[in-house]
């Protein structure tokens, strides 16, 4: 099982990228589970035909800790992709980070991976590594690889740099490593060069450029990914190529075992 976390600045296109990668990987024959780790809980919407699924925290709230079953929180979307949304606390109250921790622990407690046996798990994680909760998907036992989504915009690169540094802080802890940068094009001047230079400075590689395309919006209007709605679009090829490269990287790296 390959476990991957997708990080990046809020609004940069993480959920769109993750959903399209899930779809592309599922078309390659892999059984994919996509776990949204953002209180907004809209990571999997385009995999689920535009429908927002009940979140783990919603179900915990409604049914109590002992009342939640896997079928209450895991839903099958496009091409058999298994979708989970961690969800968040009541807005303005509670703690979002702890919400992510509780949701991921619930999945573990219910043996979700053993039951569904996904080949690939994709964690779609909110913007920055702001506290322990948002680092949870990259801790020992969770994701082994991190891919950062960024554009050439300054704030996106700034966030990407913060994420990279936070991950570096945990290097003694056996956490996941940054395995590559995904450039989500925003048509900034010299964007390719800027992002390549950034990646070089941070010690990473740009593994794929996702070209800007209105196909994304058209597909999202249908509540679908580009892979599902417009499989012949140029950008669909970018996602497919990105998925192929991710698998090449993930299956080629041997991780050190942790205590």
């Amino acid at each position: 099982m390959v476990k991957i976390a997708i990080y990046g600045k809020g609004g940069i296109g993480k959920s769109t990228t993750t959903s399209n990668l899930s779809a592309a990987l599922s078309m390659m024959g892999y059984r994919v589970m996509q776990i949204g780790c953002d209180p907004k809980a809209d990571s999997t919407k385009c995999v689920m035909g535009g429908v927002k699924i009940p979140t783990v925290l919603d179900q915990l709230r409604e049914k109590g800790t002992d009342g939640v079953e896997l079928e209450d929180i895991v839903f099958e979307g496009f091409n058999g992709i298994l979708c989970v949304e961690a969800g968040g606390p009541t807005p303005g109250i509670g703690c979002a980070g702890l919400g992510i921790i509780s949701a991921l622990q619930k999945l573990e407690e219910l043996d979700a991976f053993e039951v569904y046996k996904p080949d690939i798990v994709l964690y779609d994680v909110l913007g920055d590594v702001v506290c322990g909760g948002f680092a949870m998907p990259i801790r020992d036992g969770y994701a082994e690889h991190i891919f950062i989504v960024t554009s050439g915009e300054m704030m996106a690169l700034f966030a990407a740099s913060n994420i990279s540094r936070a991950v570096d802080n945990f290097k003694n802890r056996g956490y996941a490593k940054v395995s590559g940068i995904i450039l989500n094009e925003r048509k900034v001047e010299n964007e390719d060069t800027i992002v390549k230079q950034f990646a070089k400075e941070e010690g990473h590689t740009v593994i794929q450029k996702i070209r800007r395309s209105d196909a994304v919006q058209r597909a999202e209007d249908l509540g679908q990914t580009v892979i599902e709605a417009l499989p012949d679009a140029d950008i669909a090829e970018d996602y497919k190529e990105c998925a192929r490269k991710i698998m090449e990287i993930c299956e080629g790296i041997e991780l050190e075992k942790c205590v």
């Binding site: 322990g132 020992d140 036992g141 003694n172 802890r173 942790c258 205590v259």
Partner: protein, 391 residues
């Protein structure tokens, strides 16, 4: 409110189970707390701490450090303490606050391991769910998985079980007094069995890690049954779940043990037919760890008691098949069981027996248990292993 305890104290927590299981092994136990859990463990859950040495380090967690994620402060302090005390390993054990803020025990331990160059283990405990039983299982499994599992293919095992070698698995003072453990060791020796290792009241790490040299594991508690099940899966070691309690129970136990040696299949003392040898008596309720209680049940049924209710206070686990057992942590149910009608005998910790209202015509058998009443009734402990029960 159903899970609120109004009369009974909280039983020993998971962090105490980890501490107890690792006590003899030469490690340094680091309890990440503001000092309350350390006090609980050292002062109330660990009888050995009064007259022998163990390295226990309390991190003294403070509010600001928890909020700001100042883990480096604690890492530096633990590193300094470990460099002074030179333990064989470090075990980082949690309390409620780290558990609630999502402290990364494994990551923290990994950091310590890098700095110290000795093994460090993180235990996600908090004293909030589960019990000491879960801590014991967690600790033993984690250490064996770290030290022995990678060498599994090189281990030399005695495949035909001809050595009559056994391990005692799941023994800690929280469940079993030193005297009862000694009685078990003695009766095993008298019956021709060689004791290889005690998980986890071994005298040292080498003995602890040599568990694989035994032929059969003796799971003496629920924690023991869970560990033995894991060892059966990983190392193909069969186990017997139960204890030789009372005269009749002891004979029954060794018949079962002989069968495990002959067949190589795991069994539980409660699964084998019991030969009733005494006169017809009334009904009984036993409140204890499930394995201990179902072993007591075997002896009492053989004595002639008609029905023995087993009430496990620590959940339902392996090793309790064929027992009409109830599993509860609910205070109301515990007190209802203590006050069960038509009982000729009630066996439980003296703290629980205090709540028996009608004592007329009922024999009360006190089973002091450290996980329940700590040192309150420790002086009342008595030997029921291989000795008469409730005469």
């Amino acid at each position: 409110m159903k899970r609120l305890y109004r009369y009974l104290p909280p039983f020993a927590g998971d962090y105490s189970g980890v501490g107890s299981a690792l006590y003899e092994l030469g490690g340094m136990l680091c309890i990440h707390d503001a000092s309350g859990c350390t006090g609980n463990y050292v002062g109330f859950d660990e009888p050995r701490s009064y007259d022998s040495k163990q390295l226990v380090y309390c991190t003294g967690l403070r509010r600001d450090d928890a909020i700001l994620g100042n883990e480096q402060v604690y890492i530096d302090k633990i590193v300094k303490a470990a460099q002074d005390m030179k333990p064989k390993f470090v075990a980082v054990v949690g309390s409620p606050v780290p558990l609630i803020i999502g402290f990364d025990f494994n990551g923290f331990a990994k950091d310590l391991e890098q700095r110290l160059g000795i093994p460090a283990f993180g235990f996600e405990t908090g004293g909030m769910k589960g019990s000491y039983k879960d801590g014991v299982v967690m600790a033993v499994k984690k250490l064996l998985d770290y030290y022995i599992l990678p060498k599994k293919d090189e281990l030399v095992r005695n495949a035909d079980r001809s050595g009559k070698k056994v391990n005692i698995v799941g023994a800690t003072p929280l469940d079993m007094s030193e005297e009862n453990l000694q009685a078990l060791k003695t009766v095993l020796k008298e019956r021709g069995y060689e004791l290889n290792s005690v998980l986890s009241m071994s005298n040292d790490m080498d003995e602890f890690l040599s568990f694989y040299k035994a032929d059969v594991n003796l799971a003496v508690t629920q924690a023991g049954a869970l560990i033995a099940q894991d060892l059966e899966e990983k190392y193909d070691m069969p186990f017997l779940a139960g204890l030789p309690v009372g005269e009749f129970g002891t004979e029954h136990y060794f018949t079962c043990l002989k069968k495990v040696f002959e067949t190589g299949n795991s069994i539980e003392v409660s699964q084998e037919p019991i030969k009733v040898q005494g006169d017809k008596k009334g009904e009984v309720v036993v409140l204890e760890d499930g394995i201990i209680a179902s072993s007591i049940r075997v002896d009492l049924l053989a004595q002639g008691y008609e029905k023995v209710r087993v009430v496990s206070l620590f959940g339902k686990d392996a090793g309790m098949t064929n027992v009409e057992a109830e599993y509860t942590e609910d205070e109301d149910m515990i007190l209802a069981a203590i006050n069960g009608e038509h009982c000729a005998l009630v066996a439980a910790d003296p703290l629980l027996l205090r709540y028996r209202e009608n004592t007329e015509g009922v024999k009360l058998v006190e089973l002091p248990k450290y996980a329940i009443s700590s040192k309150l009734y420790h002086h009342k402990r008595w030997i029921y292993i291989a000795e008469k029960f409730s005469e």
